[in-house]
């Protein structure tokens, strides 16, 4: 039936060790991690891994660091399910188990090259996108302008606060931020992320946009981009579903006929705009 090695197991996770573990907000913590084999994870920006804790289970988690940064890889995990809750109880030196990387990646080596890049990140959506941001910044000469739009619910929900400051100070990057609800600590803009778009001068023929955020965000951002005369194939998005097996078998992440774990999580908007369950 199949010529592959009968001892090969697509469900077998490999051991890895946590490096730095650090709370970022009330809900999200930062984890760096290295495979015990000593090998690189071998991912591209936008891909995800399946993280296991024996006895608890497995969950799909975005890789948040760029493959240009060697050694360990990084994840930011919100405690929402069994696995993520347990991960939050772990410390540096603890063991976790990894399968992957899985899925498609942002076209950092193809469609994005030579272009102005606009990253549109809502909340935790910045986590997978950060991998692409780092990749682009590490190969800065290969791209045009780099514009990062980041919207958080409140100032205390902002992720990668130190990195945001670095990007803000970087002359080669434009960072625009907003929060849905301001408090005393925040003197910046208040409003949803689409309020930042009119502040960006978009070169419509020479721009690629990368979007990741909560489900509701996509429609509004895309409408704005299309009004700014961007074409559908200039827009890339990363979608979330329950990618349980990661290998296109279990059926949980299906959006109509596509498997997010295999055909995604990164999609070109023109490829999924007619897929009813996508957005």
């Amino acid at each position: 039936m199949c010529k592959c090695d009968s001892n090969k197991d697509i469900y077998l996770p490999l051991p890895a060790t946590l490096g730095k573990v650090q709370p970022m907000t009330n809900l999200e913590s930062f984890f760096s991690c290295q495979l015990d084999s000593g090998k690189e994870l071998g991912h591209m920006p936008g891909q995800f891994v399946e993280v296991s804790i024996p006895g608890i289970g497995e969950a799909p988690i975005s890789v948040s660091s760029s493959p240009t940064r060697k050694g360990s890889f990084e994840m930011v995990i919100r405690k929402v399910g069994n696995v993520s809750q347990s991960l939050h109880g772990l410390n540096a030196g603890d063991k976790i188990f990894i399968r992957g990387p899985f899925g498609t990646s942002f076209p950092v080596d193809d469609a994005m090259k030579g272009k102005d890049i606009i990253f549109v990140c809502g909340g935790i959506g910045i986590v997978p996108v950060r991998s692409a941001i780092q990749y682009v910044l590490d190969n800065r000469d290969d791209y045009g302008r780099v514009i990062i739009l980041f919207g958080a619910k409140t100032p205390s929900d902002r992720l990668f606060v130190e990195e945001l400051e670095k990007w803000r100070e970087d002359k080669n990057v434009t960072l625009l931020e907003t929060v849905d609800h301001r408090d005393e600590s925040w003197s910046g803009p208040e409003g949803v992320i689409t309020t930042l778009l009119p502040l960006v001068k978009i070169d419509k023929d020479n721009t690629v946009v990368v979007i990741c955020g909560p489900p509701i965000m996509y429609k509004f951002v895309i409408i704005n981009l299309l009004e700014a005369k961007l074409k559908e194939d200039q827009i890339y998005l990363s979608l979330e579903r329950n990618m349980k097996c990661g290998v296109g078998k279990c059926g949980h992440c299906q959006i109509n006929n596509i498997y997010v774990c295999q055909d995604g999580p990164v999609f070109k908007f023109s490829d999924i705009k007619d897929i009813e369950e996508a957005l």
Partner: protein, 342 residues
Amino acid sequence: MTVKKLEKAAFDKWVSACITSQRVFGVQAKEDRFVFAPLANAADLRLDYDVTILPPKKYFQPPRETLLKFDRNEGFESVFDNQPFVLFGVHPYDMVAISQTDKLFSQEHCDTHYVNRREKATIVACDVQNASKDVFAGCMGTATVNDGFDILITKIDNDYLVDIRSEKGQALAETIKDAEDADDISLKLRKLVWADNAELLQKHKLNVRPDVLPKLLGRSYEHPVWKEKSERCYSCGSCNLVCPTCYCFDVRDDVEWNLQKGERYRVWDGCLLAEFAVVAGKHNFRANRADRYRHRYYRKGKYVPEKIGEVACVGCGRCITACTANIANPVEVYNKLVDEGK
């Protein structure tokens, strides 16, 4: 290869020999219905059955299947089930379903848990002797089958034709290798059985060729039938459970009492169940019953066909029988799409 002809007594003797030498699962009566179960006596084998409650998929993808063992200190280790077995009495429509799942589990990322078990199996298929009340395999082109099995049995009057098609089949038929070959008349009669079954296994009549279904569904996404039917759906997943081509699964961990060792296993899951498309944080990407109901039809009639080139409904009719709300008849749904698409 060869087709042998056995009288009832010789046939039973052969089945007994198989039971002695191998682990055999075969179709047997369970009250007034039928099931695949471990076969202890040739006399228990009921090749005159109409349909089994559950399809034989349970032997290739068990309802609960250990994938990995773990030790919290040492990590994970694969668990494969490599014990050979014989499956006796698989109807053609179920054989087609098995061949489809073979493709789905082996293509792209090969699932060795499934494939290893499948490759150890010897499948003895058998032509249908009695049609079940809801079968429509005749409309789906699956009333008869020409490949995938190792042996095919057809009952002709009081004799059994044993068609040996593979090396595994040959090994199983070792004890009957000297039996007489089927004569031309028997082989002609077998063709009649096939022709008859294609007609008889149509308790529901599909008004469209099955290969047109992907196209039909392509223009029926907003059809009112999805909402209409699903308004009575209990989201119980019975249609998924009994379907020979449903293979979606959930993966879970179980720890032993010492909290140190345990296993990761998979269980059957169903896209009709309310929680199927929920992600961490509780957002449900298919919260609507109508969306779940429609998704199943699209998987069978469009999405899976796009992957393997065959419609993934084999017309066994189990979903029709199993559905407590009486909304799961695929023929009714498809015919409605045909009628109202005109």
